[in-house]
Assembly symmetry: C2
Homo-oligomer: 390 residues x 2
């Protein structure tokens, strides 16, 4: 018998920042008091700061899908023409949601593991100049592929359509110049790079997107962008907020501000780079080699091995929860997460564990091969010590 | 300088059950694992048990208003005739929501402090036999008044309409026989009698209400009752759940089960009864004397005194957060809460504090008068010791 620490190593929920978790203990706080308004205001202001945006930022008591819903139900009308760029399970969610709200959705989809090219959106927009919105994922979590939202934003900005980016796993894992790249609505969730449990959704919204809200006729109530903006300006939320998570977010944002958002992104990208190097060194194959995301690295299970075996072995041998493929990818890929509160020590553990699991299950790997690749990346990057806590 | 402990004494968020709060620390858990499914399943099963219902029970990552929205957007269609029984701020929320979704709402309203009589609903239903739904609050938190939902349910059951009850502060403070009284949809929130922070909404739904979902045409996505029922049967939520709050809820439900829902209701009712006795003994006036709720007792501020003064004094002198009136009642009433994790020691503190505050602000009160009234009720009821923790 050995000690097995429980480790949550998935691309959301991600490992939690302990001071943020502890902050939740103070949630015997009333949401219509100055004490709470202070925390709420600091969350909104700090979010604007770490997102580097002048756009309005709104918070919701909901998971990320709630902010996606808020965007569709507040900015569009039945029959509106929209384009969905779909590269996986979350792209399909945009398409499903557009249909649920009666939008006329043109779904530009690519096979899992690939990405929608900006040119494809450009062509679709040219074919339908009346398009009111373009929906994509910054990072498609299900396949570990990243979209070029900068180039896409340039394409969409030339049209009357707004560019809606689900950055739930993109935030904190890739540069996202919201104001500069024309990312009219950008959506995030608490349980990703913000290092706290799920239950809060957020979005930033540009003046171009606000204009659409003036003509939108879809009914909505709980998710009400205008009402939430007004409430937020008073340091409150429209409905009872998820106080415990707001307190946690205020704490994690202090840490992210101290670290710097660029540094957080670089951290994820460096870990992703090291992971890809390890994967190749061990003789495994990347699932999205062309445009890998830094949120999570998707790796193909070795031929003849179900990825579920690797997931199960991680749990049984090491107490670690690793992500399987989602949807049709289940059993075929596994995903190593990097977004948020991850460090090199986590990665050494994951790669060494993977080496042991692969060898034990008949895939030839020389112990240390993958870990050495990570060590090389660490050394080359000359990783500087960072503050442990804010 | 004295020690002032922070005390949250409002009708939601309410005082938190410490073991439930501590359970949130284990929220480094993935929602698609058997460990989490176990917690989620136990929440759903325990909710059915403490609600004493055979109806489906669903959970949402949202505040209570989210479950109200889910009910309207999943069960109705634009133009549907509905009746709203409105006795305060939350009744107005039903009316506002019905209008937001384009329903044809007949609002039967009474002045703040009074309640809608079952006969008023009966007349309204007789005038419009095509009515598809009747909406009320079990306990109108803004005024501390309780509706006779049993008699109302009998009236609605005779018609084709469904009876939708916002029991966000009714649950755990009054008997609610969901199946027996025809409460087709009953809505609750985590931050009330469930003794945990806000961020979870729940509802129970009858077969009669499910039938409406077959013809409803309002668009919706995040709040999807059918999808949530299917997910729940698999021990999951449709979207990422608020894991920390689910773990907290599982813990508080263990306690509520051990205590017994009847005992929880009796606890609130006894505290409410004692509070009313104290209010009268101190020479103050109840705001809803005719049908007082056990969720919170609304008390009129003495003539010439703004209730805001009492709220402020409680915070400054005793570190206690007491609720002011809401909406138009702000400054006129204050509310003493009883729902959930409240005991006699809390009430002794509140009433003694109130005596001090009243006297200091020029309202003549003999020290001990209100407290003695509470003590009398305690003695007469022969309150039996209950387990401190589950």
């Amino acid at each position: 018998m050995h000690i097995k620490k429980q480790r949550l190593l998935t691309p959301g929920p991600t490992p939690l920042y302990p001071p943020a978790l502890h902050a939740m203990m103070a949630s015997d706080i009333h949401h219509r008091t100055e004490d709470f308004r202070k925390a709420y205001r600091s969350c909104l202001a700090d979010l604007k700061e770490v997102l580097h945006t002048s756009h309005d930022v709104l918070l919701f008591a909901a998971s990320g899908t709630g902010a996606m819903d808020a965007t569709v139900s507040n900015l569009f009308s039945k029959g509106d023409k929209v384009i969905v760029g779909s590269a996986g399970k979350f792209g399909e969610r945009w398409a499903e949601m557009a249909r649920a709200y009666g939008l006329d959705a043109n779904v530009v989809s690519v096979p899992y593991g690939q990405v929608v090219r900006p040119g494809q959106l450009e062509e679709a927009l040219a074919r339908e100049p009346a398009t009111k919105g373009v929906f994509v994922q910054a990072s498609e979590t299900s396949t570990g592929a990243a979209h070029d939202v900068q180039a896409m934003g340039r394409v969409v900005a030339k049209t009357g359509a707004i560019f809606v980016v689900d950055a739930i796993t993109g935030l904190g894992t890739m540069p996202l110049n919201i104001d500069g790249w024309g990312l009219d609505v950008l959506i995030g969730g608490s349980q990703k790079a913000f290092m706290i449990p799920p239950g809060l959704a957020l979005l930033s919204i540009s003046p171009k997107a606000w204009r659409l809200s003036e003509t939108s006729t879809l009914p909505h109530y709980y998710f009400d962008l205008k009402k939430e903006k007004k409430s937020g300006e008073a340091g409150e939320s429209s409905w009872t907020p998820a106080t415990s998570l707001i307190l946690a977010l205020a704490e994690s944002l202090r840490y992210i501000k101290q670290l710097g958002m660029e540094q957080l992104v670089e951290n994820a990208q460096l870990l992703a780079h090291a992971t890809r190097a390890a994967v190749v060194a061990m003789g495994l194959e990347l699932f999205s080699p062309g445009s890998p995301a830094a949120s999570a690295t998707a790796v193909k299970a070795p031929r003849g091995m179900d990825s579920g075996v690797i997931i199960k072995e991680f749990r049984n041998r090491f107490g670690a929860i690793i992500a399987d493929g989602q949807g049709t990818m289940k059993g075929q890929i596994f995903r190593i997460a990097h977004l948020g509160y991850f460090d090199f020590a986590d990665l050494f553990g994951v790669v060494a564990g993977l080496e042991i699991i692969l060898k034990a299950n008949g895939f030839p790997v020389t112990y240390g091969t993958g870990v050495a690749a990570v060590e090389q990346v660490y050394e080359q990057a000359a990783v500087k010590p960072q503050p442990v806590h804010a």
